[in-house]
């Protein structure tokens, strides 16, 4: 089966993920990649991402995702996302704390493209939110989201929880009221579990997820191609390789076909239930 046919049939996820970088201005307690200000950047690079993106479209992929690290601390991120969004629908995962006035002006062209910025917000109370994500995170997010929405940019809110099924309904409703008040409708609010990899594993948080539980979504990093955006995690400063597909990322057909072989060989009855967006 070709890559395009496998995407059409659902065997392969249609979205290609790019880990633009690994460094971040925050140090979240459950971060999959142990991202922090001082870690190695390991940038994939704007031209590399755009080139692989063009290949991905030709192969039949249907969407892009950009994550990190914090993508928007890279100067060229607005330009990069514009380039990706001109090819295919794109979602960028962000902590939402890097949108100063200059940055807001730079992302304005994204309003005309099929681009969403997916911003993390875990709790309706600032203190509890910031306990996991760092000081001032809540304030910066609730300031940034309306400004993005006002500019016509698609915004999603992602809430990451230890156990999404166990959350207090009242607390959940307050969170939903909050994102609605910021201009983000319910259909753009994603609630997902913490994955027990990276710093979450160190801190004994989250749910276990092997490749049997994850969607096969081609994920490119500076270290190679992975099975899922949950794959290129870091623990104890060491990159996890259990979900590495190949070090080769170009031509994109190579990791795409390797991922397809893996997806087709998954045991019958596999239970895919966890997505990053």
């Amino acid at each position: 089966m070709s890559v395009a046919a496998s995407i059409a049939s659902g065997t392969l996820g249609g979205r290609v993920w790019f880990y633009s970088n690994y460094h971040c201005n925050l140090r979240c307690a459950y971060c999959l990649t142990e991202s922090a200000p001082e870690v190695s950047r390991r940038e994939l690079g704007k031209e590399e991402i755009l080139a692989r993106g063009r290949e991905a479209r030709e192969l039949g992929f249907t969407a892009f995702g950009v994550t990190g690290g914090e993508p928007f601390i890279l100067e060229y991120m607005p330009e990069l996302v514009s380039g990706l969004g001109a090819e295919l629908p794109t979602v960028v995962l962000s902590n939402g704390t890097a949108f100063n006035e200059r940055r807001l002006r730079e992302v304005e062209p994204l309003a005309d493209l099929p681009v969403h910025v997916q911003i993390s917000l875990d709790h309706p109370d600032p203190d509890e939110n910031d306990e996991m994500r760092g000081p001032e995170n809540f304030r910066k997010v609730v300031e940034a989201v309306p400004k993005l929405v006002e500019r016509g940019i698609g915004v999603r809110i992602a809430t990451t929880l230890e156990d999404p099924d166990a959350v207090d309904p009242e607390e959940r409703e307050r969170l939903c009221e909050l994102h609605r008040s910021l201009g983000v409708p319910d259909e753009d609010h994603i609630v997902r579990p913490i994955i027990n990899r990276g710093r979450a594993m160190t801190n004994e948080m989250g749910v276990l997820a092997g490749y049997e539980q994850l969607d096969p979504e081609l994920t490119l990093t500076a270290d190679g191609a992975f099975y899922s955006p949950f794959g290129p995690t870091v623990r104890g400063g060491r990159l996890d390789t259990d979900l590495l597909v190949s070090r080769t990322t170009s031509p994109l057909r190579e990791p795409a076909e390797a991922l397809l072989r893996i997806a087709e060989s998954r045991p019958p009855g596999h239970d895919t239930s966890i997505g990053i967006n």
Binding site: Y211, T241, D242, L243, L244, S246, R247, E254, A258, I262
Partner: protein, 193 residues
Amino acid sequence: MTQAAASAPSLVPLVEADQAPILARPYFPAAGPASPLTASLAHVPEILEVALPFVGRVLGPTALDARTKEIVVLRTSALMECSYCVQTHTAAALDSGLARAQIEALRGEAGIEEAFAAAGERALIAWVDEVALGRGAVGEEVTVRAREAMGDPELVELTLVVGATLMLNRYCTALRLPTSAATLLRLAEEGLA
């Protein structure tokens, strides 16, 4: 030729089973550690899944008998002073039926003429020596002896075995792959450490 023990740790971390990439997992044993060759190649799974079947096919069972192949592999490895390969293939040579004296001769610790009576095997070893260590074409006299001792398919395959072994010798030596504890224990018990 002396074989220094692999005392330094591996130059690259050996990938453990729980970190084995999906495409590399079939090459990891269900229990116990993978070979250092497998565990190092697992850093690049797309190479591993080509290299290990290639190595397994060239060095593993084919129309040629295991004893002949081990003569080639052990001799080449000794010439290249690859302690990992010499130790690993000393054990394999014992399993293939090579006598202790022949193993010592192949390792350069005794004379070939005394250990190998058959002219064909001596011709093979001379061929291996020139292919492994020589530069340019193999000398005429060694070539004539090899042609007399081997048919075309044998000459092709055994020359490829030398080449594959040379690749592994330099790979294992440069990356300082450690010989497995089980192999070292066996060699100690056999007095061939």
